[in-house]
């Protein structure tokens, strides 16, 4: 029998946020712990388990969790491991699905990376309900992506498909990207990419701009947004530049999977039409003819504060991995799910 709730856990470099979610996508209750408090992974899992346990008890949800979904950087859906995470201290291969399932006495666990979780969240509870083909693009410090084809997340043969922040947009003289290559979409169209564009434009141009009142090294995408809202031409041109490149990148993505929509999520989307208008115009201008006028550019419908937990939780409904547990005591019938 399906239980009424799933647990969503989002592991970020600073906080681990978790929530109890029902089938309609309501976050019944949520909590968090500091991710880096424990250098030992087992200690981290122990603390996570106690914190979640308290939340379950307080909300009468013990024994009512169908599955646990975890969103984490570099999480591999197939192996249940976090592989070479850049900002986590627990080693190169962290068997998180197994350890968490064991801590929760065998509740099934599924894991994936943050952007894939966002796509699942959108499909289960948000703007992509009813869509079988769409692409989720997360615009934050980096550019992430989760691709859905035929109603299924695209994991690829190794579980790592969907790094669309790292398609190459400038093949000559491109910006250095965090991945060690040059010219990646992420180096231009992330929040930090927008700030880099601001510094470049301020150097290359001589017109006045509100942004010239700031120390160039401290400029953020939010500063660019605020200047643009006040009609600052240089700031408006930064959004135009960013949106145009995004549209060009999206045109190539459409040639791949012909999605019904590309859904944008993350801090940069707060700029709304400032960004969306040039994206849409550039996409249409660059599309292969057969695709024109078909793919929508829309914003996520999930509240940003809930989205990470909701996305991870969506994976909980389909979780299958169960840690092997010690055989139950003879007094318990073997078929029964162990108590949580």
């Amino acid at each position: 029998m399906t239980k009424p709730y799933v647990l969503g856990i989002d592991i970020g470099g600073t906080n681990t946020v978790f929530g109890i979610v029902d089938a309609r996508g309501q976050v019944v209750a949520s909590g968090s712990i500091k991710t880096l408090q424990h250098l030992d992974f087992d200690d981290y899992v122990k603390e996570l388990h106690s914190a979640v346990q308290r939340l379950l008890l307080a909300n009468d949800a013990e024994g009512k969790i169908q599955g646990i979904g975890i969103g984490a950087p570099n999480a591999n859906y197939y192996t249940g491991e976090i592989i070479n995470p850049p900002n986590l201290p627990w080693g190169d291969r962290i068997p998180i699905a197994e350890k968490v399932s064991k801590a929760f006495h065998g509740i099934p666990v599924a894991i994936t990376n943050d952007a894939n979780a966002a796509a699942l969240g959108e499909m289960t509870y948000g703007a992509a309900r009813g869509m079988k083909d769409f692409i989720m693009i997360t615009l934050g410090t980096g550019v992430g992506s989760g691709i859905v084809v035929n109603g299924q997340l695209v994991y690829g043969h190794d579980g790592f498909a969907g790094e669309l922040g790292h398609v190459v947009m400038k093949r000559n003289n491109g910006r250095v990207c965090g991945c060690g290559r040059t010219g990646c979409l992420e180096a231009y169209c992330s929040a930090t990419g927008v700030a880099r564009t601001a510094r470049e434009f301020l150097d290359a141009r001589s017109d006045s701009s509100l942004l010239r009142n700031l120390d160039p090294e401290d400029i953020t995408s939010k500063d660019v947004y605020e200047a643009a809202v006040q009609g600052d031409q240089l700031a408006l041109d930064i959004f135009k530049f960013t949106g145009e490149m995004m549209g060009e990148a999206f045109a190539d993505m459409v040639a791949f999977s012909s999605p019904q929509a590309i859904i944008l999520f993350g801090g940069l989307t707060k700029s709304g039409e400032l960004l969306l208008k040039p994206v849409r115009e550039s996409l249409e201008a660059h599309l292969f003819p057969i695709y024109r006028g078909k793919t929508k550019i829309i914003l996520s419908e999930l509240k940003e504060s809930d989205a990470a937990v909701l996305g991870a939780s969506a994976l909980g409904w389909e979780a299958k991995y169960r840690a092997e547990l010690p055989a139950p005591l003879p007094s318990q019938p073997a078929e029964e799910t162990p108590l949580q």
Copy 2:
């Protein structure tokens, strides 16, 4: 009960080739008609039906066809129509699945474009047997593609996904492409693209080359291949240029679907290692780190003369579309499949 054969039909601009194929991918018998002999589509279907019928009778295959698969340019899997075909005279929306199914008394028909059919053929009978994630790239007059994710062809929301010949590789000063845009992969890495590169190199360079003995306008990719085999440096550099760009394009495709292999098919692949070596080197050099060393570049295992029919036939096994036929005569039981 499954019948022992499928029928594969490949509709090209000149010939329509068809064959009876068994479950092991043997082409039991094949034939062809001229595609453009009839300006009226119904007449074309009538001639196709008679020619196939003769083949079925001659091979004791009447009543033994499970389904019909058709590969055709601009064929839409979902609607069963050929939409705006550039080289066919039968109108803008040709309801081919319906008409052919009707002509064959209700045998189910499925259609898709040539490159998707090639991918299905490779998965069913060729180099991609057992693969769930791969990309087929056809290198002919144009560059086509068929993408398989999770064991399924990627059709997209509109049935037209997978036009990877039209991702943009040169965003500035790119070559004009047949699609009306500039800088597409196809404008560089098709057989005709290789010939264009030869003309560009001959203009831009002054070193001697066997290719200078030919009228530049008549140079083909085969000429470039033959010169390269003889050690001609300019010809070798043309393959290097082509392979490098292909590798860069493939690196972006891997970031999308992380395929186990990219399978190459078509005339240009006859150049073998001349092309494959720079493709492989360039792919590895340009891959996002997490993908390095994982995606193979391999050649199709289907004989070129059989491949189009085999690819189309593979679709026949899963064909579901049945034309609505007139009600059977009262003497026939209604449940029975009408005679062919």
